[in-house]
Symmetry: C2
Subunit: 411 residues, 2 copies
């Protein structure tokens, strides 16, 4: 190997306007360039406690167990599902996009009995539909996705906690793509577990996953507690249920590591934790409600601009996520060619789609650090230019004007 062929890292400048990852806030990257400290240094455990407090603010919860899982957003999902689901448990998953399928798949790997209800991509469920299924299936857990970027839809969750209490069901939500840009009220809505990711509305790089667990969820997980043989003492007792299929994702152990006993588990990913702390700090400094309003403002400006270009949008707009929009690729236009020209000639990335929407829908995000007017205007401007170059005629400047008008009337 000729090592001189591998130069210093120098990624091209991109404006990331897809469904995530998006550009990280430069302040987050600066926080992540801090030098390391030891994992039991008082300064480190203090930062860990601060992270717990900050994410309680972000998740709107009093839950003691609000912490980070060291992995990408699906690590947070899997830690919760593997820790909570016992083999043979019945779970109900309302599937309205790809990430509902992911919950089913992870639950099957936990050896759950998986029941699903489905709506066509582009729609969400009514509380009645979910209540009917809860009555019929009588699951132990209801597994939901809040914002499924594959369809850009946002499932209303505010009534589900009360339903789950009524039927004695634990309620989990995957808020990877929605948290920070759409309302989520862990305690007020009665969510027993929520997980998230950094690379969407939180404005950081993927690599760590904030989760929060209700006291009810904690009790379920403690039933499956283990302590590793290399560090266990006579004072440690294991739980009553069978141990989970993972050590890395054993939330009982992870709680013992984040809790006062600080029982050694993994070596906390310090740099990722510094980044996650800065993401939450910046979000709460802005104010969570202000951040959600900002995502709504720029998401709607993009929507108006797309409509002003006479492009069709995908899905039920009443239930659109604030931070991502599905745009139907016009007949006769090569969707991948448009994305390539956007990327190569303008340095702007917009997203493709999965499964049934592949080749039919682009997904354009306005989230985190990129929920800004200049990002929206640059993207609309470049998209209009590329579309016209590819033969799709627009009224010159109409899309941009519609976005300007939206900003003008919502200043």
């Amino acid at each position: 190997m000729d090592i001189s062929q591998f130069s210093q890292i120098n990624p091209p400048q991109r404006l990331l306007m897809g469904p995530g990852p998006i550009n990280a806030d430069p302040r987050v990257l600066r926080a992540m360039s801090s030098q390391l400290i030891g994992q039991y240094d008082p300064a480190m455990t203090h930062y860990m406690n601060e992270v717990m407090a900050l994410y309680r603010g972000v998740f709107r919860t009093e839950n003691r167990w609000t912490l980070l899982i060291d992995g990408t957003s699906r690590a947070g999902i899997e830690a919760i599902l593997l820790s909570a689901i016992r083999p043979g448990d019945k779970v109900l998953v309302p599937v309205f996009g790809r990430f509902g399928h992911l919950l089913c798949e992870i639950a099957r790997r936990c050896r759950a009995e998986v029941h699903t209800i489905e709506v066509p991509w582009g729609e969400v469920f009514t509380p009645d539909q979910i209540e009917d299924a809860l009555k019929k299936v009588q699951p132990r857990l209801l597994l939901t996705v809040q914002g499924d970027t594959s369809t850009t839809m946002l499932q209303p969750l505010n009534e589900l906690g009360a339903l789950c209490r009524k039927y004695g069901v634990l309620l989990y939500t995957d808020a990877t793509a929605s948290l920070g840009g759409n309302a989520l009220e862990t305690d007020a809505w009665g969510l027993d577990a929520v997980s998230a990711g950094m690379q969407k509305c939180l404005g950081g790089p993927s690599g760590t996953s904030p989760v929060t667990l209700s006291p009810q969820m904690e009790a379920v997980i403690r039933q499956r507690k283990c302590v590793e043989q290399g560090i266990r003492t006579a004072a440690h007792q294991d739980g009553a249920d069978e141990m989970i299929y993972s050590n890395y994702f054993d939330l009982g152990m992870i709680m013992d590591y984040w809790g006062p006993e600080r029982l050694n588990h993994h070596t906390e990913a310090t740099t990722a934790l510094f980044g996650a702390r800065e993401c939450a700090r910046l979000l709460l400094q802005e104010g969570l409600d202000n951040s959600i309003a900002r995502h709504k403002l720029h998401g709607n400006a993009l929507l108006k601009g797309i409509q002003g270009m006479e492009l069709e949008t995908f899905g039920d707009l009443r239930h659109k996520m604030n931070n991502v929009l599905g745009v139907v690729i016009p007949a006769g236009i090569d969707g991948d060619r448009v994305r390539k020209l956007m990327l190569e000639d303008f340095g702007i990335e917009i997203g493709t789609s999965f499964g049934p929407l592949h080749g039919k829908v682009w997904r354009i995000g306005t989230m985190g650090y990129n929920a800004r007017k200049d990002c929206v205007m640059q993207t609309l401007s470049a998209l209009e230019a590329v579309l016209n170059h590819c033969g799709f005629r627009t009224t010159q400047g109409a899309g941009l004007q519609a976005a300007w008008d939206h900003y003008g009337s919502h200043a």
Copy 2:
């Protein structure tokens, strides 16, 4: 919550001379402060391919499947064990410290039938001891730790591959703490799978785990292949064996993400990947053999210094890892008070121990960016001062002189 109480991150300056994490190379932190790019951006997939090539150099292998698992070092261990072990498989684990116990525990969670052999902490196994156990147990996999930081011992591996071939056994090694500072020859030694971490001899922050898989190991894993429902097409076929207990750690899926099909799985932790790329690039620029020699030089200088202070060392020095030393806490000395004074008054962290060595042994590391003369000399100087302050008498300067002499005779 009063957000103004949470100030900009500002960790205290520490010299991390424990068993890891150690201080990251500042060039690695700078690489990690680069702005993000999309996960399917040609620049990103090019960096992923470069990472594969670079870690082939670090692992000394031609293995195609040499890639990163997004999580700390035990994420890499678990991905390999969960993907390779089928429920009911017999595995053999030679346990010579805490991390052997960890392999047993993860294997039990995979529902393996776990067999162990043990030696007292501070010793390693002979090939004969391992061959006897292979004959008796007839396992499907042999799970080994190369360097177990809990005892500071390095298990010789060079004869184990041939033994495993002889008995038809797959050979895995956890090289988290040893890679880059001690010889490891994946192909020459016949290792079927190796995993590592960033925060030891590689000089980065924990958070991603390089792994390499032999063609034999790949074939085993492909037997358990799944493709997620949300992205599968008619062309995709699943493997013959039962699916593994994890989606996140399903190496079949992770190979499909790193391979030419680029099937969507997790969102690669871009910042961690930038860091891992720079760690490997710097290591290969130095030369792997030079890096190992550097770890040996500074590890031995520390050893001479400790012996010069008339402190006892722990374990069989013929099998010591180059990068960490066990130091017996002298009678009458409060080990935790010494560590506290080292940290608070000198800004130097040295390590405590787990399990049977807790309170009896300090562990002092010289690894990665901190395998340097100034780090060794500062640590010896501070330790001598603190020990004398606590009532342990040394011959003034004898430890430092012994280290200087070692450097003088190995210049």
